[in-house]
């Protein structure tokens, strides 16, 4: 006779094995990374990264067993001006040839009301710094092919100088606001 599923779950859970966690692979077509920065102190201009990948492991029952990993290739930066994009990829800013990826890896996840407080490390421009994201979970729904989709989004502000991106401080602001919206397909 097979043991009931919930008994198996309790046993595995007590062994530290995540039982109810769902793994979502980020869908780059429906995920967005948008940033804004002050220009000449006048107003913000916006740019985006056209590529994003990553994995979100989400355990509704025990959020501490969840994890978030997001990777953004710097080459995909797009500010609606090809020449400016090239300059952004140069050693003056992102230094894309030396540091081709922006990576966030979570260390802890905890529920915080409607949101999840995700603490981890952001590696940008070769510098790794601790960062806490307040991710607001979105809904789950079925996609066109019957696949389960889920997601969440967050907004954060970082200082580019914290990551060694000091070029043109003044004409360009130090604070960069990043909007990260993630939609993933359940694996």
């Amino acid at each position: 006779m097979k043991p009931p599923k919930f008994i198996l779950a309790i046993i595995l859970s007590s062994l530290g094995v995540t039982v109810y966690a769902d793994t979502f692979k980020l869908d780059p077509v429906h995920s967005s990374v948008i940033f804004s920065i002050r220009h000449l102190g006048i107003t913000n201009f916006y740019g985006r990264f056209n590529d994003v990948s990553g994995t979100v492991v989400f355990d509704k029952a025990d959020p501490s067993k969840s994890s978030v990993e997001v990777t953004v290739p710097v080459e995909s930066v797009d500010t609606n001006n090809e020449k400016r994009d090239q300059h952004l990829k140069s050693p003056d800013f992102f230094n894309a040839k030396q540091f081709p990826m922006i990576i966030f890896k979570s260390k802890t996840v905890e529920a915080s009301g409607d949101s999840y407080k995700v603490t981890g490390e952001l590696t940008l421009h070769g510098v790794t710094k601790p960062l806490t994201l307040e991710i607001k979970k979105g809904a789950e729904a079925k996609g066109m092919e019957g696949e389960i989709r889920g997601g969440g989004e967050t907004r954060l502000t970082i200082k580019r100088s914290d990551f060694g991106m000091n070029f043109m401080q003044g004409p360009l602001g130090d604070d960069v606001t990043v909007y990260l919206s993630m939609e993933g397909v359940k694996q």
């Binding site: 140069s90 030396q98 510098v127 060694g164 070029f167």
Partner: protein, 269 residues
């Protein structure tokens, strides 16, 4: 650039007044560049994350090596071996990200070995010329090369790298000016290792991390050699004519390198 000029000027004058001929300019070059770098782009992180952040540290490290070299005068083979290994270590740090994201260990080792050998050859040629050339033409040649490097780097799409090139140009320019004003002393050969490390660091950063064409980088690296060959073959000639000839020879190859960088440069927005 002003900070670089002031710092290098003070040390170059002090070196001449104290008759520290063999290494006075090495100290002026290393501290002038490091000071100018810090004032221009801020304190480099330690350990450095970016290739260019290594340059002030390496300038100071190599300054000590240059001072020791001029004081101890080790045998030629030992000197070459130590310098080759030091260059390989410097290149491994500068190009560390290429090992992480691009090169296999074998490919990377070959690159490092070839580049270190190139730095060794350039150092040997400059060193030989520095021993013969007691005029200001030696730092003048390096100033022209550094100026061309700065312009080519700026054209390669990085104003930051260009700015560092101009810092180096300001240092060499100041050493030339001090040598002109205090002609009783001579530039020392100690300047060579520091110059080779900082210039190579800028060329390699431009080639690997910006859009500096390989032909430009190679031309800049080789541009001083014909002029220094003239130094070796021009002993006893008219000093002023020799100076103009050497400066012209180096300026022509530097101008060609800048032209190639201009043709390949990304358009500004």
């Amino acid at each position: 650039m002003l900070a670089a000029a002031v710092i290098s000027g003070l040390f170059a004058i002090a070196g001449r007044l104290w008759r520290a001929n063999s290494w006075g300019d090495a100290v002026a070059l290393a501290l002038g560049y490091a000071g100018g770098h810090v004032v221009s782009v801020g304190w480099p992180a330690f350990p450095p994350a970016e290739a260019t952040q290594w340059l002030p540290y390496f300038a100071i490290l190599v300054m000590f090596v240059a001072v020791l070299d001029t004081l101890l005068r080790p045998a030629g083979l030992v000197r070459a071996l130590v310098w080759f290994l030091l260059c390989a270590g410097i290149l491994r740090s500068l190009l560390g990200s290429k090992f992480q994201y691009g090169w296999s260990p074998l490919e990377g080792s070959l690159w490092i070995a070839c580049l270190a050998a190139g730095m060794l050859v350039l150092t040997a040629i400059l060193d030989r010329a520095a021993q013969r050339d007691v005029s200001i033409s030696f730092p003048l040649i390096l100033a022209i090369v550094a100026g061309g490097t700065a312009v080519a780097l700026m054209l390669s799409g990085s104003m930051l790298l260009g700015q560092l090139g101009f810092v180096l140009t300001a240092v060499f320019g100041t050493i030339v000016a001090v040598g002109f004003l205090l002609p009783r002393a001579v530039p020392g050969r100690g300047i060579v290792p520091v110059a080779v490390v900082v210039l190579s660091g800028l060329w390699l950063s431009g080639y690997f991390f910006a859009e500096l064409p390989a032909a430009s980088a190679l031309l800049l690296a080789a541009s001083s050699i014909p002029a220094l060959m003239l130094v070796l073959s021009d002993e006893g000639g008219n000093p002023r004519r020799g100076l103009v000839l050497r400066a012209t020879v180096v300026a022509v190859s530097v101008a060609l390198a800048v032209f190639l960088a201009f043709r390949a440069s990304p358009p500004m927005y």
